[in-house]
Amino acid sequence: MISPIALEVARNRLAGIADEMGAVLRRTAYSPNIKERIDCSAAVFVPDGEMLAQAEHIPVHLGSMPASVAAVLERFDAEPGVQYAVNDPYAGGTHLNDLTLVRPVFLGSVLVGWAANRAHHADVGGEAPGSMPAHATTVDQEGIRIAPMPAVRDGRWLPEFLEPFLEATRTPAERLGDLSAQLGANEVGAARLEELARREGVEGFHRLTEALLSYGERRMAAALSALADGVFTFSDVMEWGERDVTIRVAVTIEGDGLTADFSGTDPQVPANFNAVEAVTRSCLYYAVRVATDPTIPTNGGCYRRIGLVAPEGSLVNARPPAAVAAGNVETSQRIADTLLGALAQAAPDRVPAASQGTMNNVLIGNDRFAYYETVGGGQGGRPGKPGQSGIHTGMTNTKNTPIESLETHYPFRVTRYTIRRGSGGAGRFPGGDGIEREIEFGEPAVVSLMGERRRHAPWGLQGGGPGATGEDWLIRAGGRPERLPGKVTVEVGPGDRLLVLTPGGGGWGNPG
C-alpha cells in the first residue's frame, strides 16, 4: 500500500523528470519550431508502455506518445544503450514530421521504464518543402517514413538511421541539431528515472508506479462519475473541395467509464487529411479533459477508463498508404469538435461552443526560402463568459512569429494584423472573433493554404449562433480581390497581397 504522501511526492518527481526532458529538448534544439513554437513533447513510461508523466505543449501529442513506445515494444527486445526512432504514422507515429525517439531505461539488467520525446521536424523530404504537400494522396509523397528502428547505440547515431534521414531532408544541418537535442533529452530522462528506481529498488519502484497509474485511474473515474450517463451522438464535416467528409461519433458514458465510437464516419480519402488512430486518440483524451477536469495529471491510468472504437479504413483510422500530413493539423481539430459536440450534452456547463476549428496553415516559399505559419481565430462562447478573440484553440497552441523578425528574413511584408470584428457568433455569451492578416509579397513565390471552416461555420450551443466562416482572398497587384478556396496552391508575384480572415467562434446561449 502506497501512502497518499509517497504518491504525491512521486507524482511530482515523475512530472519533474518529464519537465526536465522538455526543458533540455527546448534548450538544446536548433529550430524555431521547437525553441519558439514549442512543437514537442516528452514523457516517461512504465516497462509495459503505460505513460507515467508527460510534459506536454501540444495537445495532439497527448495520446499519441504511448503509441510510439508500444510500436517499439512490439518489435524489439529492449537493449540497454539503444534508442529507437519512429515517425511512421502506421507504426506508432502521427504524421511524418513528428519524429519520436524512444529509450529503454534499465537498472542493471532489469527494464524499469522508458523515456521518449517527440519533435516536429520542419522538413523530412517529400514532394514539397515542409513535407505537407497539399496534393498528396499517399504517405510516401510526404517524406521519409521510418518504422521503429534502432537509431542510437551508446550515445552515437547509427548510420543506417541517420544517413537516409539526412539524405531525405532539405535541411540536414537543422535536423541534426534537433536530433541531438532529442538524444540528450532522453539521456537526461533515463538517468533521472534510473536514479529514482535505484532509490526505491526495482520492486518498490514498480509498486510506486502502479500506485500512480491507479491514482490517475481514480481521478478519471471520479471525474467521469460526475457526468450524466447516456449515449451522446454528434457529427461534423471536413471540407474537401465542394464535397463534405463526415465524422460521426457516439459517446457512451456509463458510471465511471467512457467509450467513443466513430462507427458511421466516412471512409478515408485520396487526399492528405486522413487521421491515423493515434491522432484520434489524442483528440479523445483532449476532449475528455476539457469536458471533465483539466487538472487530472496526464498518465496512462486515466486512459484505462476511456475506450475508443475507430473503424479501420475510415477518416479517423486511416490505413496505408493514405496521406496524413493534414490529418494531424486539420482533421484533428474536427475530431475534437465532434467529440466536444457530443460531450456538451453530458457536461453542458463545461463545454464551449465550437471554436475556429482550423489552424489556417499558410506556407510560403520559392527556391530560396520556405516559411510556415498558423493563424489563431475565435474561441467558442463559454458557459458563463464570451469566447476569446484571436487565439489558438483545440489541438494546437503554437505562437506567431514577430513581424519584425519575419520581415527581416523573408521577402514579404505584413500589411494588416487585426481582430476580425463581428466574426464571433451571436449568443448570450458570444463567440470570440477571428483574425485578419494580410501579407504583401516582394518577389515571386508559391503560396499553399490549408484551412477549414470555409463553408461550414463553427457551430453555436444552447441557442447561440454560428461564427463567421473563414475567407481567403488574393489581391493581384492593381487587380480586384479574388476569393480562394480553403485548400489551394497559387503562384504570386511582387505587389500581390494575400488576405486571410480566420473563423469566429460559435456563440453560447440564446442571444435574446
Partner: protein, 646 residues
C-alpha cells in the same frame, strides 16, 4: 549611514546602517506604503533626518495586480491596433477552456491607429478621451525613432502635463509585441509610481534627488526621477534585494555558486547566482503582462508556510496552491482557520516552538493546528503526525522541482551549488531540500528577518540599457559604435547620479545563428572585434545549449550595457557577530523524519562564532527558525550565518 527599507505584503522591513552597526526593525505595511516607511524610520531613527534611503517597493507590482494603474491609451500603427490583444496568439492553459489570456491594459477603445496626416485627429481624440498616460509604439520603433518622436512632440505641445512613454525610450528592442507591451505597462505604471515617490519624499526624504534611491528589478539602485519615468523597471524591486544579499554573502563566505531560496507565507522565490552575480533575465510576464526589461531571474513557486494541505479525489495528499494568507492564516494563528497549513505541520512536529510567538506578538494555538491536521488525516487514513510529516515532504517536493527547474533550464547542475535560505520558513526546509538535491551545503544568513532590506544596503547604483541593431558579419564595423553608444549612455547617467565614475561598465551583445528565433547574451567590449564575438558566442552556445555551429553565420541582435557604481555597504564592513544572551535554551521533543527525538534548542543571537550544533536541533531567533535533522551539523560563521553540512 543608510536606511534600507523593503516593503512586502504584510511587513515593512528596515535595516539601518549607522556606520558601525546594523539595526533591524519590522513594522506592519500600510495601504499607502509611504506611511509604513515613515513610521518604521521614525521607530529606528527618531526625529533624525534620513541621510539616504534605499528602497524596495511593490507599488508597481501591486498596481498591475490590482489593475489600478493610470487610464492609459496606446498610439500605434493603423492596421495593427489589435497586436497588443492578439499577443503571441497562444492560450494560457491547454486543457482549461475557461482560463483567460490576461486582457491588455489598453482596451480596444483606448488604442489609436496612427497613419500619416492623423495629427489633428489624434489631438481631438486625446482631448475627448482625457487619458492619464500615453504609450507610443510603432513597428520598427526600436530603429526608426523619428516617427515616435514626432508623436511625442505633438502630444507634448498639445498636452504639456500628459506623460508620454515612447517604445524607443522604454525598450528599444526588436519584437513588436514584447516592446509594445512593455511600453504600455510603463505608461500605465508611471503616474502611480511618480505619485508614490512624491508622497514618500514628502514624508521621509525631503530632498529625494540626493537622498532616495529605488531598487530596480535588475538588482541595482536608480534615482527616483528615473524610477518614475521608467516605472516598468521596478516591477521586481521587492524580490531583488534578497537575491543581492544572498549573492554578497555567498561571495564573502567563498561560495561562488549559490541558489537563493526565499520562502515566505504564500510563495517562494528561487534564483541562481554565479560568481556573486545574480542570474538576469531580459523578459518576463508579471500578472500576465509582458515586460522586456532586465530583472533578477527569480522563479516563483506558489507554495510557502501558509500553503494548505488537502486530499484530492484520487486520495493523494496535496499542498497548495491555495494559501491561508495573512487572514485567517494557518489554524495555529487561532483566527478561525480550520485547514492545516505548512506552518501548522511544523508546529505540531515541534520544529516551531509551541510556546513561541509569531512575528513577536501572536501566541500560537497548538490545539487548533492539531485539530486541522487530524481532520485532514482522517480523510487519508493517517494520524496527525504522519499527516504533518507528509505535508512537509510534499511541499519540499514542490521546492525541489523549482530548484531543478531554475538549474536545468540554464544547463546548470544544482549539485555544485550552496542553498542560501531565508524568509520566515526558509530555514525550516532548507537542509532536507538541499540533501535531497545533493547540493553542496546550506547557508542560513544572519538578519534573516530583514534580509531583503539588508540587500538594499548592499546594492550598487546601476543603469541598464539595450538597443536592437540586427547586424550581420557584413555590418561588423557598425557593432563597436553601437556598443560604445549604449556604454557611454549608462556611464554618463550613472555619473550624473553618483558624481563619480562607475565601478564597472558591463557591455554585452545578444547573438544568434542567422535564422534562430532566440538569442544568447555574451559579454563583449568595443575593440574586441566580430571574430572574438563569434568565438565567444559559439562557446557560450555550446555551454548553455549543448552544441555550437562554428561555421554558421551569426547575427548581433541587441547591444546591452550596464553601469554599476559602489554600494553603500559591503559585507566586509559589517561587524562580526557578537553573542548576546544564552546560546542553549532548552531541549524539546521534535518529530524528525525518523520519528520523535529529543532536540537541542539554540538561540542564534547568543551563539559564539565557531559554535557547532548537531541535528536533530532547532536554532531560533526573532523571526525565523532553523531546523536541522538527524545527521546534519551547523557551524556559526563569524558573520552570524549558519553553515549547514551533513
Amino acid at each position: 549611514m543608510t536606511l534600507g527599507v523593503d516593503v512586502g505584503g504584510t511587513f515593512t522591513d528596515l535595516a539601518w546602517w549607522d556606520g558601525e552597526t546594523l539595526h533591524a526593525a519590522k513594522t506592519s505595511s500600510t495601504p499607502d506604503q509611504s506611511e509604513g516607511v515613515e513610521s518604521g524610520a521614525r521607530g529606528l531613527l527618531g526625529d533624525r533626518a534620513v541621510p539616504l534611503l534605499v528602497h524596495g517597493t511593490t507599488v508597481a507590482t501591486n498596481a498591475l495586480l490590482e489593475r489600478d494603474g493610470a487610464d492609459t491609451v496606446l498610439v500605434t500603427n493603423h492596421g495593427f491596433e489589435d497586436l497588443i490583444e492578439i499577443g503571441r496568439q497562444a492560450r494560457p492553459s491547454l486543457y482549461d477552456p475557461f482560463a483567460d489570456r490576461p486582457a491588455p491594459l489598453v482596451d480596444r477603445e483606448a488604442r489609436f491607429g496612427w497613419s500619416s496626416g492623423a495629427e489633428d485627429r489624434l489631438v481631438a481624440w486625446l482631448r475627448a478621451r482625457r487619458p492619464e498616460a500615453v504609450a507610443v509604439s510603432f513597428l520598427y520603433g526600436f530603429r526608426d525613432t523619428d516617427a515616435e518622436e514626432a508623436v511625442v512632440s505633438l502630444v507634448r505641445s498639445a498636452f504639456p502635463d500628459l506623460p508620454v512613454s515612447p517604445s524607443h525610450r522604454v525598450v528599444p528592442e526588436f519584437r513588436e509585441y514584447e516592446r509594445t507591451s512593455t511600453t504600455v505597462v510603463n505608461a500605465y505604471l508611471r503616474p502611480k509610481v511618480e505619485a508614490y515617490l512624491h508622497r514618500l519624499a514628502d514624508r521621509v526624504v525631503p530632498q529625494p534627488a540626493e537622498r532616495l534611491l529605488v531598487m530596480r528589478s535588475s538588482g541595482g539602485l536608480m534615482p527616483p526621477a528615473d524610477a518614475a519615468e521608467l516605472a516598468a523597471a521596478i516591477l521586481l524591486s521587492g524580490p531583488a534585494g534578497g537575491v543581492v544579499a544572498a549573492a554578497a554573502l555567498g561571495e564573502t563566505m567563498g561560495y561562488h555558486r549559490i541558489v537563493s531560496f526565499d520562502m515566505g507565507g504564500t510563495s517562494t522565490d528561487v534564483c541562481r547566482v554565479e560568481q556573486g552575480r545574480p542570474e538576469v533575465v531580459y523578459e518576463r510576464a508579471i500578472e500576465g503582462q509582458v515586460a522586456r526589461l532586465p530583472s533578477v531571474a527569480v522563479h516563483t513557486v506558489g507554495a510557502g508556510g501558509g500553503s494548505i494541505g488537502w486530499a484530492d479525489p484520487g486520495r493523494a495528499l496535496r499542498v497548495g496552491p491555495r494559501s491561508a494568507g495573512a487572514f485567517p492564516g494557518p489554524a495555529c494563528y487561532g483566527r478561525g482557520g480550520t485547514e492545516p497549513a505548512v506552518t501548522d505541520a511544523n508546529l505540531v512536529l515541534g520544529r516551531i516552538d509551541p510556546a513561541g510567538r509569531l512575528a513577536g506578538s501572536l501566541p500560537l494555538d497548538l490545539q487548533a493546528a492539531g485539530a486541522a491536521l487530524r481532520a485532514l488525516g482522517r480523510e487519508l487514513g493517517l494520524d496527525p503526525v504522519a499527516t504533518a510529516l507528509g505535508m512537509i515532504e510534499v511541499v519540499e517536493a514542490h521546492m525541489e522541482r523549482a530548484i531543478r527547474a531554475v538549474s536545468v533550464e540554464e544547463g546548470a547542475d544544482p549539485r555544485s551549488a550552496v542553498l542560501v535560505a531565508f524568509g520566515g520558513a526558509g530555514g525550516l526546509h532548507a537542509s532536507a531540500l538541499a540533501r535531497r538535491l545533493e547540493m553542496a551545503g546550506v547557508v542560513v544568513p544572519p538578519y534573516a528577518g530583514v534580509f531583503s532590506a539588508v540587500g538594499l544596503l548592499l546594492s550598487p547604483p546601476r543603469h541598464d540599457t539595450a538597443r536592437s541593431v540586427l547586424l550581420a558579419a557584413a555590418d561588423a564595423d557598425r557593432l563597436d559604435p553601437a556598443v560604445t553608444e549604449v556604454a557611454d549612455d549608462v556611464a554618463s547617467r550613472l555619473r550624473a547620479q553618483t558624481g563619480s565614475e562607475p565601478e564597472r561598465v558591463e557591455t554585452a551583445v545578444d547573438v544568434r545563428y542567422l535564422g534562430q528565433s532566440h538569442e544568447t547574451t555574451v559579454p563583449y567590449r568595443p575593440g574586441e572585434g566580430w571574430d572574438r564575438l563569434a568565438v565567444r558566442f559559439h562557446r557560450a552556445h555550446a555551454a548553455r545549449n549543448g552544441f555550437a555551429r562554428p561555421d554558421d553565420p551569426i547575427e548581433a541582435v541587441t547591444v546591452r550595457a550596464a553601469a554599476v557604481g559602489r554600494p553603500a555597504l559591503s559585507w566586509g564592513d559589517l561587524p562580526e557577530h557578537r553573542p548576546v544572551g544564552e546560546a542553549r535554551l532548552a531541549t524539546r521533543q521534535v518529530v524528525t523524519a525518523e520519528g520523535p527525538m529529543d532536540a537541542a534548542v539554540w538561540w542564534r543571537p547568543g551563539m559564539r562564532p565557531g559554535t557547532e550544533v548537531v541535528g536533530p536541533c532547532v536554532v531560533e531567533e526573532g523571526e525565523a527558525t532553523i531546523y536541522l535533522g538527524p545527521g546534519e551539523r551547523g557551524l556559526l560563521h563569524p558573520s552570524g550565518a549558519l553553515e549547514v553540512t551533513w
